[in-house]
């Protein structure tokens, strides 16, 4: 009898079928070739709802190989329900090693944070993106936003920054601060805090952005110039945590979560859980820190 080797398992390796993976990889390659440009892709069905990290998962599952070490973080945490479930899913579908250690991982999927620790050339960071169109807030029609990108007509997003300055006295943007990639396309860095935005520029690693619901991929290749939009006299600033130390580790110079304990006392904790684990043991991994102007 001839043994059936082809249909031993009910799923293909890494869940997605090979032709779809090929398509996603080709789109990702195109995105790398045109930094910051949103490449449309097929966005196949996944066993999680669209808008819950499908874009990130498409990229992850198309790129992951048997020798990869996978890490997933959700708003800095390895332990959130979403992160745990996706980690289990990827592990089950690929049999890859999974880790919490940022330095050890080769492929990291993340939602709304870039790890504090400097990433290396052998690592890829896949970001989940809810809204890839940075201009959507100022222009609701897709046909117009595409034309605006084509002509590099970004005056409307500049006006929205001007208006933010007029109203709040600062370039106020909670997350997803608009960036100009490689002197050409203005793109969204996904809803990461401003703290993480400077780390996108001239990084060692590849950043891939997947928006499953909106069916778009964009990328920031390694060693690519990324600038946050800023005026000549009003500069981009990251969040300041002046005089604030982590209540768990006592450390500073990291992005902090504000929490209230049972006695309603205000506390801060380092947001990046793996970074916190490391600083608790006394070692401090290398970071790229941005100093606010003046």
């Amino acid at each position: 009898m001839i043994a059936n080797t082809k249909f031993q398992s009910s799923y293909n390796y890494a869940f997605i079928d090979e032709s779809t993976k090929k398509e996603v990889r080709r789109r990702a390659l195109k995105a790398v070739c045109i930094p910051g440009y949103q490449v449309p892709y097929s966005s196949p069905e996944m066993p999680i709802s669209r808008g819950w990290g499908t874009g990130g998962l498409h990229l992850t599952l198309s790129l992951i190989g048997k020798s990869d070490t996978f890490k997933i973080i959700d708003q800095g945490s390895d332990a959130s329900v979403n992160a745990c479930n996706l980690r289990e899913f990827v592990k089950m579908m690929t049999g890859c090693r999974v880790t919490f250690d940022t330095a050890e991982a080769t492929l990291i999927q993340t939602r709304h944070r870039v790890p504090e620790e400097i990433m290396t050339e052998r690592q890829i960071l896949v970001l989940q993106v809810p809204q890839p169109e940075v201009l959507r807030g100022v222009e609701r029609y897709e046909v117009r936003t595409r034309q605006m990108h084509a002509e590099a007509d970004y005056s409307k997003i500049w006006v929205s920054l001007y208006e933010a300055y007029v109203r709040f006295g600062t370039l106020m943007r909670g997350s997803g601060y608009p960036i100009r990639v490689n002197d050409r396309y203005v793109a969204t860095p996904s809803p990461i805090p401003r703290w993480d935005v400077p780390n996108l520029s001239m990084a060692n690693c590849l950043y891939l952005f997947g928006a499953g619901r909106e069916k778009r991929i964009h990328a920031i290749p390694p060693y690519t110039k990324v600038e946050p939009l800023e005026f000549e006299d009003v500069k981009f600033r990251v969040e300041e945590f002046a005089g604030i130390r982590c209540s768990v580790s006592g450390e500073d110079r990291a992005f902090m979560d504000e929490i209230f304990d049972d006695q309603e006392r205000r506390k801060h904790v380092i947001n990046d859980s793996n970074f916190l684990d490391k600083v608790k043991t006394g070692q401090r991994p290398p970071q790229r820190l941005f100093n606010n102007p003046d």
Partner: protein
């Protein structure tokens, strides 16, 4: 026109500018116009908005365009401001390649550059020219940002100077135009149009829909700015009073064709074409 013989000195030159909506046949242009008292092609039903418009505009000059509604006045300035694409024709600006390039064949980027740096437009409806979700200062900033000025302090200085010039209270600079009266909205629009000191501004029925005293104020403002800054203007209006007050030279449009063209005073005092005579005699 004797002007057309002069090779130099012009700012804007327009030759056989034509816009047809729908499906034009070869006979369309020959079978429409004032002679036939229609701009609808009897063969294909195509609508000729304007046909074969020729004129030159000189620096510092104010050219009036009059005609009843549907005569193609607004289409003319919208074509020149690249809001719509012309069917055929040539448009030259002296400041672009010395006036040797037909602007209608330029790329979108090039057209946008000209809109942002060399042209200004004031629409009849402020909602077409202003973004009502931005503040009035932001609207002016948009025009300055489009022209590559990225200094908030200088943008705000320029915006408040312009609003002062157009008599909009500077305290209201950071409010959206939706909270303004119609006359104020129109003045914000004028500020935006002239923000980059463009050599050429189009005014499309700027005073229609305003009450008479506000009309007079807006017209005064336009005339003052024109004198102070020496901007060339094309003023589109169905109101001969506006044309008389603002313009040096006037073109009368009917069914998309120029039926009469000359000095404003001459046209109003001694209209030659039957249609112009009708227009002038129906002046209230």
């Amino acid at each position: 026109m004797s002007h057309q013989d002069t090779e130099d000195g012009w700012l804007l030159r327009v030759r056989s500018l034509t816009k047809v909506y729908g499906d034009p046949a070869e006979t369309t242009l020959a079978r429409t116009g004032p002679k036939f008292d229609s701009n609808i092609c009897p063969d294909t039903g195509a609508i000729v908005a304007i046909a074969g418009i020729d004129f030159d505009l000189y620096p510092g000059e104010v050219l009036g365009v009059v005609g009843e509604s549907g005569s193609g006045k607004s289409t003319l300035v919208q074509l020149l401001f690249f809001d719509q694409e012309a069917t055929s024709g040539e448009v030259y600006l002296k400041s672009v390649d010395g006036g040797r390039t037909n602007l209608l064949t330029a790329s979108h980027q090039r057209k946008r550059y000209m809109r942002n740096h060399l042209l200004g437009m004031v629409y009849q409806n402020p909602r077409d020219g202003l973004n009502f979700s931005f503040t009035s200062g932001g609207n002016i900033a948009e025009k300055l940002l489009m022209a590559g000025s990225f200094h908030v302090g200088r943008i705000r200085d320029r915006a408040s100077y312009l609003l002062m010039q157009t008599e909009v209270p500077i305290q209201r600079m950071d409010e959206t135009p939706s909270s303004f009266s119609g006359g104020m909205q129109q003045r914000v629009q004028i500020s935006k149009a002239i923000a980059n000191n463009p050599p050429l501004v189009f005014l499309d029925e700027v005073t229609s829909g305003l009450d008479v005293s506000v009309q007079a104020k807006v017209l005064d403002l336009i005339r003052r700015l024109q004198h102070e800054l020496g901007i060339s203007m094309i003023v589109v209006s169905h109101d001969l009073g506006v044309i008389r007050m603002l313009t040096d030279r006037t073109m009368v449009l009917k069914h998309g064709h120029i039926v009469e063209h000359g000095l404003t005073d001459q046209i109003l005092q001694d209209p030659q074409h039957a249609y112009t005579q009708l227009l002038v005699s129906s002046l209230l």
